[in-house]
């Protein structure tokens, strides 16, 4: 049983990518099968129920709940404007007079004779769903959405911040180990996805955002910089909803970590092309990785990679735990028996020759296979 517990992230130039685009509630699908779409085209739309406002009519009119229905000026389903009277109480020829008004525009949804409360639902909130990638509609998912397909390059990161974005890839770093600092960010990078090297500074991210860049892809980031960017300490790797003005994709991890050569070369080869990216990450069961998709027509259909990859002597691996974090190497042996490591734990190990020529013994849980 020679398995990599962390199968590694997909980095490939040629793969068929299918994206399910689903509305939060059923609605209208606006495209048909076979139709070519671009990333920003709206493919489906719906309306979410509006916000609900509660009006304590019984309190406003100083009556019991059961009296409220007969004092209503509006019935369930009636539209109302903001500050429009919805119920009125008059007694003794108008000497006692009270009015209850709607706090917002909307529709009367419910009149409760028990609580004397009236629910006013605000106008529906329109939701439009874009295609996200340049591709072709291959399936309609009833009244809930579509499946879009394209051929292209796919790069998965380890952690992302922010949601979907789309823009032109711009290579900023000259090599994977170059730091990305504020000086590297050009003023005319509006709408671009900037590709950096080993470590991005907070100033660089702020400059990129101010200049209108839609995304940044980089090898590493310091934990403190990430916290500063999102305005809180990131405690669990469930992301995608942050609103920080751009989408950030970290390919390797925390600290100064050169972007994997293969990832860098892939992005370099497609510089100037349009890319779709999404920072949404969920490192839990049912893992979701941040992604960069670069549709291009020459892609051939490639089957998805195996979920659990096999470790072999000669496999290229990356070490993913201190004190060797980030070191690349090649497996030289896969001993079957459990072995005691410095902590006195008995674990299954691999022997790895690092690219610098060091012979290392590493728990199998602490390596990541680099897909060739």
């Amino acid at each position: 049983m020679a398995q990599a517990y962390t199968p590694g992230l997909t980095v490939t130039d040629s793969i068929t990518i299918r994206k399910e685009r689903r509305l939060p509630l059923p609605g209208r699908v606006l495209v048909s099968v076979g139709q070519a779409v671009s990333a920003e085209d709206v493919v489906a739309a719906t309306e979410l129920p509006g916000n609900v406002h509660t009006v304590n009519v019984a309190h406003d009119l100083n009556v019991n709940g059961e009296e409220v229905p007969r004092l209503m000026l509006k019935a369930e389903g009636d539209p109302v404007e903001a500050q429009e009277p919805i119920a009125e109480y008059k007694a003794l020829w108008g000497i006692f007079h009270a009015v209850s008004r709607s706090p917002a525009a909307g529709t009367i949804e419910n009149i409760s004779p028990v609580t004397g409360q009236v629910l006013v639902r605000g106008p529906a909130l329109p939701v439009e769903l874009t295609a996200y990638i340049d591709g072709t509609i291959v399936q309609i998912l009833g009244d809930e959405g579509v499946m879009v397909e394209c051929g292209g390059a796919l790069l998965q990161g380890i952690l992302g911040i922010g949601g979907e974005a789309h823009g032109e890839l711009a290579l900023i770093a000259e090599s994977p180990d170059q730091r990305l600092t504020a000086e590297h960010i050009a003023k005319d990078c509006a709408g671009q996805v900037l590709v950096g090297g080993s470590l991005v500074s907070l100033e660089a991210l702020e400059h990129a955002r101010e200049a209108g860049a839609v995304g940044v892809i980089v090898g590493g980031i310091d934990a403190a910089v990430l916290d500063e960017l999102i305005g809180e300490r990131l405690g669990v790797a469930i992301t995608g909803h942050e609103e920080v003005g751009l989408t950030l994709i970290i390919t390797e991890g925390f600290g100064e970590l050169p972007m994997a050569q293969r990832s860098f070369e892939l992005l370099k080869a497609h510089a100037g092309q349009q890319a779709s990216l999404n920072g949404a990450t969920q490192i839990r069961a049912g893992v979701i990785r941040p992604e960069v998709i670069i549709p291009h027509p020459s892609s051939a259909e490639v089957p998805p990679e195996p979920i659990i990859a096999e470790l072999k002597v000669g496999s290229s691996v990356r070490l993913i735990r201190d004190p060797y974090f980030g070191i690349l190497g090649t497996i030289t042996a896969l001993p079957e028996d459990l072995q005691e490591i410095e902590t006195e734990s008995l674990v299954r190990v691999v022997h790895v020759r690092s690219d610098d020529g060091d012979e290392l013994t590493i728990p199998r849980a602490n390596i990541e296979l680099i897909q060739q």
Binding site: V114, R121, A223, A224, F254, I283, R321, P323
Partner: protein, 598 residues
């Protein structure tokens, strides 16, 4: 099948990442764990069928035991023969994130808290508790319910014959939110109503159409009484009927089992309650996982469970540090570490959660974080394990009116705690058992004399569900194969200057006497299955269980870590000065032989 005919038992636990199978075989009159197998859980895409993972875990059990359990058509072989099959198959599940419940009540510290206890006791994760006094506006509550997408909603509120209008108001809010079930988008969301019985017709009117509504007895029938049983049973029933049947592959798994599938934490709660009942003891159990930490307690027969979402050792490790503060983690370490490097290191564990510490410093750091995760989870538990003591145990009306003060009084009494059981990777797989013992002692700070144990391979869930079918087999395996006895902790309560006299301990059989000064840790070798009678005599400032300065005569059990005498004081005080604190940490580690370099 008669209980005496059951010779081979297969049990699985479908966790969110791993499915674990155990095989229990009767040897003579005794039931023993024979082998254990595991495989990745397959609820999520691309498999989307939990039974694949179950079959794979069983296949590993077959391989290791040499016993064939599944026939070529993929069916379980039953009953057992000499070489193949099992007589009973049971399972628990927390796959797909477990059972997620939103609770709705009237007053946060009363009905909403009772509802929360009911849901937690049923093995659920409580996503949020909405109440009239939760500080939110009506539309915010509606928005929240809409975002949550729980598996079910539990509504409580009002004593029987009491407040009706406001309970209906909360139900109307639930209806207005039009909440959708997490699994099975086309199905109505199960809603359980366990409030004022007089409001039932109105609740039916408000929610009958929009949701799959069921009603059960009020969980707070009077101000002085809590009746959590019916709500808990209904939650588990709904879990099976609605939630599980929507999860991929579960309808097939439900057809395989000989007892209802239980939510994993409910099964753990079951076994802990049984042991407390059978042995007549107070227990605290903790399961520290990668994402969450569960704490269970039974004090004077009252069971409580809490789950601290986002306190865990891999997925949530960075959150533990965020919640406790970096300084609280650093205080357990023997060496100074650069804070920014440490921060990056912890985050890298968060994003690559399956990695293991390779060097000793890494292990020490993880164990320091584990102490904080356990400490915070236990603090949360103490806050919730409060107030009413469940059905049949009433308070008088004056106490009930004094809700705030009474509600803050925890039921957890560390001095009366008999057994502290830990499980989860950080505790069960600690390379030295004394490390697990010290993590438990530092985080929970047991008082008086307390037995310590760890669950060897975390099979409490399977034993909990097995206890429904064969309580004796579950009990035997729990005591013989599941629990690893670590030993006993003796910790007097009190404070005085380090080095001043604290307690003396005399072994009754040999007369051997140990004098231990304040501020020390001492470890005495006492092997498993050894029970010795001791007289523990504290000085006037300290209490060992009988009151300040009073001696006790008691029996203490040995274990893998032996007897640990902890005179560091309660509450535990660490030196303020960082350099002195590190020096002390080194001395304490040496005193108990904590690490290879100690």
């Amino acid at each position: 099948m008669n209980l005496e005919d059951i010779g081979v038992i297969l049990a699985t636990d479908c966790g969110s990442t791993t499915t674990k199978a155990i095989l229990i075989v009767r040897e003579g009159d005794a039931y023993r764990l024979q082998v254990r197998g595991e495989a990745p859980t397959t609820v999520e895409a691309p498999f989307e069928d939990v039974t694949i993972g179950v079959r794979n875990a069983i296949a590993e059990v077959e391989e290791l035991s040499g016993r064939r359990l599944v026939d070529p058509d993929g069916r379980l072989i039953r009953p057992a023969t000499e070489t193949k099959g099992a007589d009973v198959y049971v399972s628990t599940s927390s796959a797909g994130g477990g059972l997620q419940v939103a609770v709705v009540g009237l007053v946060r510290r009363m009905t909403a808290e009772s509802a929360q206890r009911a849901a937690l006791g049923a093995g659920a994760i409580v996503m949020d508790a909405l109440a009239l006094d939760d500080g939110r506006l009506a539309h915010q509550r509606i928005e929240r319910l809409r975002q949550l997408r729980p598996d079910m909603i539990l509504i409580s509120g009002g004593v029987d014959g009491g407040e009706e209008r406001r309970v209906v108001e909360m139900a109307e809010l639930v209806a207005a939110a039009k909440p959708r079930a997490r699994l099975g988008a086309k199905f109505k969301l199960p809603v359980i109503y366990a409030g004022n019985v007089a409001a039932r017709p109105r609740i039916q009117e408000a929610l009958g159409e929009a949701t799959a509504l069921t009603t059960v007895d009020n969980l707070r029938p009077t101000l002085e009484q809590e009746n959590l049983g019916p709500a808990r049973t209904e939650i588990q029933e709904e879990f099976l009927q609605h939630v599980m049947s929507q999860a991929p592959g579960y309808s097939e798994l439900m057809a395989w089992v000989d007892a209802d599938i239980m939510p994993t934490p409910a099964a753990v709660g079951e076994i802990i309650q049984r042991i407390a009942r059978d042995e007549g003891i107070n227990i605290v159990g903790v399961d520290i996982g990668g994402a969450t930490t569960d704490v269970f307690s039974v004090f004077d027969g009252t069971f409580n469970r809490t789950v601290s979402a986002n306190l865990g050792m891999s997925y949530s490790i960075a959150n533990v540090v965020a919640a406790s503060g970096l300084d609280n983690v650093l205080r357990w370490l023997e060496r100074e570490i650069d804070a920014s490097k440490l921060d990056n290191r912890i985050r890298n564990k968060m994003i690559r959660p399956t990695t293991v510490p390779q060097w000793l410093e890494g292990l020490k750091l993880e164990q320091a974080i584990a102490r904080e995760a356990l400490r915070l989870a236990f603090a949360q538990h103490k806050l919730l394990a409060t107030g009413l003591k469940g059905i049949q145990q009433e308070r008088d009306i004056a106490q009930a009116f004094d809700q705030t003060r009474a509600g803050e009084e925890t039921l957890v009494d560390m001095m009366s705690l008999d057994l502290l059981v830990g499980s989860g990777g950080a505790l069960s797989h600690a390379p030295r058992r004394v490390q697990a013992a010290m993590m438990l002692i530092d985080a929970f700070q047991p008082e008086g004399t307390t037995r310590l144990a760890v669950d060897s391979i975390f099979m409490m869930p399977q034993l909990g569900v097995l206890a429904q079918v064969h309580p004796e087999a579950a009990r035997q395996v729990f005591l013989r194969d599941c629990l690893v006895r670590l030993g006993t902790c003796i910790a007097p309560v009190g404070q005085s200057r380090a080095g001043s006299p604290c307690i003396s301990l005399t072994f009754a059989d040999t007369g051997e006497r140990l004098d231990v000064a304040a501020g020390e840790l001492m470890r005495v070798g006492l092997t498993e299955d050894t029970v010795r009678e001791v007289i523990i005599d504290p000085i006037r400032r300290y209490d060992i269980g009988a009151g300040r300065g009073r001696a006790i005569r008691t029996q203490i059990e040995g274990g893998a870590a032996g007897l640990i005498i902890d005179t560091r004081g309660r509450p535990l005080q660490l030196p303020e000065d960082p350099a002195q604190r590190r020096e002390t940490a080194v001395a304490w580690a040496q005193a108990v032989d904590l690490y290879p370099d100690s």
